[in-house]
Amino acid sequence: MNPQRFGHKRTPAFVLAAFPQGAALLVLVAAALLAVGGGPAQALPAYARQTGQPCAVCHTAFPELTPFGRRFKIGGYTLGGGDWKGPPIAAMYITGFTHTNAPQDAPPAPGLHTNDNLVSQQISGFVAGQLYGNLGSFIQVTGNPVAGTVGLDASDIRYADTLNLFGKTTVWGIDANNAPTQEDPWNTTPAFGWPQVSSTIAPAFAPPLTHIENGYTTTVGGAGAYLWWNDLIYADFTAYKGLSVPELQALNDGNSTTDALTNVAPYWRLAVEPHWGSHYLMLGTFGMYGQIAPGRQYGIGTDNFLDVGFDSQYQYDGDPCSLTVKLTDIIERQTLNASQVLQNASNVNNWLNSFKANASFVWDHTYSLGFGYFNVSGSHDCFLYGSGANPTCSPVNFGSFNNSFVRSPNGDGLILDLAYIPFSNGAPFPYSKWNVRLGLQFSSPIICISMEAQTISTD
């Protein structure tokens, strides 16, 4: 399983459903962005050096994007303006302190405690920015010191240009990436969804996320094209294919038992974003259809996942404050032919719904207050979601989740995220190579109930 990474995260509050008692998670996270090379550095330092702009131009609060930041991404990461002439590289280090209301049953990793752990949770290197002309990249290699792994993280390379379509300026681009929605410029889709930085050592629980949220990341490769018409309408179509075992091993993103995407999986995206002055409203939809061979076991059919998402965002891009409100709902239809044969699912047909709503208020791109709610619901499935209480439904593949007695994916919770980003508007010293985000995150499930109405955890 891939470690927690900036760019594709897991909603931390899901893990709390694994607690037998009321549980809450407090995470103090510090992310430091180091620009490798000289020169003033802000934002993702490679982009800041390239544009000559502070990170506040592209981010309300790093890494959530402003309207300018979305257009920088759509434009292929190639917009210039800075004086930097060196390579587009940068590095990031994230350390976190994690406290839970109840200690975990066992240390989350060798050398750690059952509670109150301070760890280096992520080290990343980036090749990010203009590569040549209209060709740009966001390539991230991530190491997880806790897990002792390093591999290619969610990344994309794109080429963008402009044309005139129906009398209006249109940006078009082609994009290659390894994580569906990585190419999307809004933070309502999973790859860069809120909150973007969370603990990696919180207690594990089989996350009942839809496949487009976490089922494909870094195990697939995709190529597609997009249009951004009249600074208003965005359309994207990308086709994904599963990576082979040698490819997964070379990138350190999987092995011979990693789930395989067996079809050429279509991903689609349509959004409209009108704006009036500093007020931006986005309405959109996205989706993907994938056929999965679980554990690369073939000849028993496939598990098929149709994900359809609807998202909306209101953003006030003011000065000095900004407000971003986001809604995302993803509906997933599952046809679990292979998993039923493998007795990993009781039903052939299941559904899962993932809803998220969150708002972030940011003052001067420096102080961020974010508040979010999530709700996951779906059909009950004894084998898929496990049940330690029912001997006829033994959790054959949930051995590490002994605290889990749930037989449905249902759960909801709240997340509070506070952040201080001192150098958003530029570092106080002229040749600083650092940008820093200090964050405090609190997560708590409201209620999580099993099929037998057993309360798993409450506030």
Binding site: I74, K85, Q130, G151, D161, T162, Q249
Partner: protein, 89 residues
């Protein structure tokens, strides 16, 4: 068949070598040329009048006589937008 740990160890070494190689290659091919895709004027609150002592004419992004490195369209030296940065001496 190799053990998982063996695969990871080999892959990690391979990834590090690949990452170093690809980073060097990408860095080597980097050429800083002007991008074709600039941002619309409305997104950066461009106005044709200056703001206080700030104007496009004394901005580091201004490309005389009437363009900007970041913003699309005709730009007047007396204009202003949110991206204003002091022109290097």
């Amino acid at each position: 068949m190799r053990e998982l740990g063996e695969e990871l160890k080999l892959s990690r070494r391979r990834v590090l070598i690949s990452a170093l190689g690809s980073t060097s290659a990408l860095a080597g091919m980097t050429r800083w040329t002007e991008a074709a895709v600039k941002v619309p004027q409305s997104v950066v609150h461009y106005q044709t009048a200056p703001k206080d002592n700030q104007s496009c004419g004394n901005c580091n992004q201004f490309a005389a006589p009437n363009a900007c490195k970041l913003v699309d369209g005709d730009i007047t030296p007396t204009g202003w937008c949110r991206l204003w940065t002091k022109k290097a001496a």
